[in-house]
Symmetry: C2
Subunit: 200 residues, 2 copies
Amino acid sequence: MSSQEELRTIALREFARSGYGSTSLHRIAEIAGLSKSSVLYHYSSKEALLEAAIAPAIDAMDSIISAMEGLEFTQERRHAFIVRFVDFLLAHRSEVHMFINQARSLEDVPAVGRANEVVGRIAEVFGAAVNSTEDRMRFGMALGGAAYSLVTQDEFGQTESPIDETRAALVTIMTELLAPVSVSPALTVSPALTVSPVLN
Amino acid sequence: MSSQEELRTIALREFARSGYGSTSLHRIAEIAGLSKSSVLYHYSSKEALLEAAIAPAIDAMDSIISAMEGLEFTQERRHAFIVRFVDFLLAHRSEVHMFINQARSLEDVPAVGRANEVVGRIAEVFGAAVNSTEDRMRFGMALGGAAYSLVTQDEFGQTESPIDETRAALVTIMTELLAPVSVSPALTVSPALTVSPVLN
DNA sequence: CAGGGCGCTGACCGATCGGTCAGTTACGGT
DNA sequence: ACCGTAACTGACCGATCGGTCAGCGCCCTG
């Protein structure tokens, strides 16, 4: 693996694990067995290194959502999206971790801004079929929950599962969450339930 | 509001939004309209400020899980846990955001380490009834997804929903996710189970 | 009026940050 | 053998970090 690739890989892992702002170039260099100057030789700045590290994931996410835009939202297409999305998550855990955790604090970085745009387009495509509060929560829990549980699965030392088992489980659960809920109203908890004092 | 409380509130929000490492004491002081020295007058160190800010949330989470330990895992208790957990999420969004995003990088901080312990105990309690890969994913997506979608809901400028609608939707979806899959889902929610939430 | 905390401050400290720059080493093509 | 360039480095820069400290004004009490 070339130094450039190695630096990208290391930076990605460290940025995701410790945060962009809290990861020093010195640390990245140290892990790579290089000096800080060498890192800045390959990438003109810390920000350039970040962009190089996450660009492929943004492209992948972009192509997934582009394939959905402007098309009617059939069951088949929904399922195809879920499968693509799960595979995307499995292939780009660290990048997704970064988007989830630091998209807000890094939004001035061009590449991260672009990532936020793409996420917004996903929300738009689903938004057409998603109106109620509960449906919106379903959408958020399906995408966010899938990403989050995948990320923490290898962060915390949980029991590891075979990849295809994980993949199948994710597809099943996301399909369940994103299925049109108009059916079986008996499931929903009555809205007149005890309104709790939510205070800080 | 006293300076101490105000600093705690500001610190919590900034730590959650930008990360602990990337938030300077100067910035916190600036928002509070004080000097950096004043912050260090009220809290002996940045870490002490962090601990003071998140301690109440950890206590609340601790009491929720303590109420579950050592008891048989009935439908009623599962539902009670979900309701308490959702109310906990609603009351402590910022703290939960921090645990999710930075628990790993901050684990040497005593208070955060304690938070990780509590999360581990939650996993243990549920782990008894959770064996397959899919059930484990369900658990992760229910807890993590709920926390994540709540956090991003007000971070990104999404359409805001009434808080009791959000609460009801979360309870519904989490119940659906955590219900034993073998049983018909229609049977799992009994309407008379609304348990009053845990107060802080 | 004296004085003692309390809340707060600016000046200052060493460490570390991202980044610049001149210079060294290794090496492939002619 | 020579040269150009790619890969890499240490010394150094200004800025900012968390933290220390002496001292400021203010209010309350004796």
